[in-house]
Amino acid sequence: MMDYIAIKNIYKSYQQSDERRVVLENINFSIEKRELVALLGPSGCGKTTLLKIIAGFIETDTGGLYKNGERLSGISSNRIMVFQEFKQLFPWKTVLDNVIFALEAKNIAKNPAEREEMARYFLERVELTDFFDYFPYQLSGGMKQRVALARTLAADPEIMLMDEPFGSLDSQTRKNLQDLLIDIWQEAQKTIIFVTHDIEEAIVLADRIVVMDKNPGRIKKIINNNLERPRNRAGIEFGELYETITSV
């Protein structure tokens, strides 16, 4: 059986003064369609670099990304990144226009009126109904990330790449957004690759957790997460999985 997405033999290193630092070594794993995979590891383990390689933002030394056996290269609007930085929204566009941007860029919908209606739909989907005409600087961090999420959904990519998008939020907002993401993921049936250093976040979200380690960045273990959804953060099994991951 052919994997939907296969990541094969990825190596990546950078020249650092007079030595070569290996950032990623022998990265191999596969992703199924509509799966939510978490890349989990401490800072410096190369998880963000790996995500950027998948997005096509940076090139590998060797190895690469395959979809249904076919090599993918370069940046594509089929693999859209949600960044951690709040700055990812365009400050000169209103909330609504930031989402319409995605529809225009991908030439979705026939006319401006239809685009606006769709953009409103996606903003309602991320529970931002009252802020269509606000500018990004007027929003809180959590609201900005919701807009970024709506913009990504509007572009309708096959794969959503999420680089610690909730990493700069307070814990309550983070939990709300995790729940929202699960909802959206189940409804929109997207494939999601989610980078995080937060074990709890990985367990709440992911079907599978790719546990990484640093120096050099590599995969330690891939753990299946079969906990029933919605997941109870205080449950016994949750705790057990947490233990398993820490002891890897």
């Binding site: 700055k87 990812q88 000169w92 941007f101 995605a102 600087y137």
Partner: protein, 257 residues
């Protein structure tokens, strides 16, 4: 708050005008060198009414907008070239380093010989005083665009031209406006001095020439009329045009601190 500021401004204006008039009434200076407000206003109204001042003003405004437009196009072109090509960048940065600190007035004797004393000469001096600060600010503007904007643009499938128009242009707008403001201020000064030096072809030589002429005939109320017009234009452009553009764009977007 804003109203209050305006009121204060008006209060001080009236205050200054009163002082002027008191000095005049004191009779310490001859009315020839220190004219009363009424004669100044009469001179202003008169030369506006008979079209003399209006014509000179139109000449000045036309030539300065021409100069600004040409400089703008050149500056955008140069800043883009420098942004995308290393060789162009080193050439343009060298040109800016040489030309930027050079006051336009220092070039005027040379310009007189090269272009003669006419429209072209004034235009040249205007372009010189606007172009370099404009290029400098646009260069800073382009290089201070956060990478993430460009990355998002690429990720959503925009091509180079779309990135230029949809992302780089609005993202660098705050710097563009600063460049434009500096350019305007510098060119307005350059214009007046160039007009004074180069004189008129067919008696129309702009506001600078108007003032210069009035001085020759020792018509001080006329000189002041010219000066007042220069001040008013400066305020109008600054407050009405630039503030308006800023309020509708960078301030509205929270891109200006």
């Amino acid at each position: 708050m804003k109203n209050n500021k305006l009121l204060q401004r008006i209060f001080w204006l009236i205050f200054l005008v009163l002082i002027w008039q008191i000095v005049f009434w004191s009779g310490r200076f001859s009315p020839l060198v220190f004219p009363s407000l009424t004669t100044i206003i009469k001179a202003l109204a008169g030369s506006l009414y008979n079209g003399e001042l209006t014509q000179q003003l139109l000449f000045s405004l036309l030539i300065i907008s021409q100069g600004l437009l040409i400089s703008l196009v050149l500056a955008i072109f140069m800043a883009l070239a420098a942004h995308f090509s290393g060789i162009a960048a080193s050439l343009i940065d060298t040109l800016v380093a040489l030309a930027h600190p050079l006051p336009g007035i220092a070039l005027m004797p040379l310009v007189l010989i090269w272009f003669g004393a006419g429209r072209q000469a004034i235009l040249f001096v205007i372009i010189h005083s606007v172009l370099w600060p404009m290029v400098l600010n646009l260069r800073t503007g382009f290089s201070s665009i956060p990478d993430i904007y460009i990355l998002v643009g690429k990720n959503y499938g925009l091509d180079r031209l779309q990135i230029l128009i949809q992302i780089m242009a609005p993202a660098s707008l705050p710097y563009f406006l600063v460049g434009l403001k500096i350019g305007w201020a510098r060119s307005w000064r350059a214009l007046i001095s160039a007009e004074m030096l180069f004189g008129a072809v067919n008696s129309i030589g702009g506001l600078g020439w108007f003032i210069f002429q009035k001085r020759v005939f020792f018509d001080l109320p006329g000189v002041f009329a010219g000066i007042i017009v220069i001040i008013i234009i400066g305020i109008l452009v600054e407050d009405l045009i630039f503030n308006n553009i800023e309020n509708r764009t960078v301030k509205r977007w929270g891109m200006k601190s």
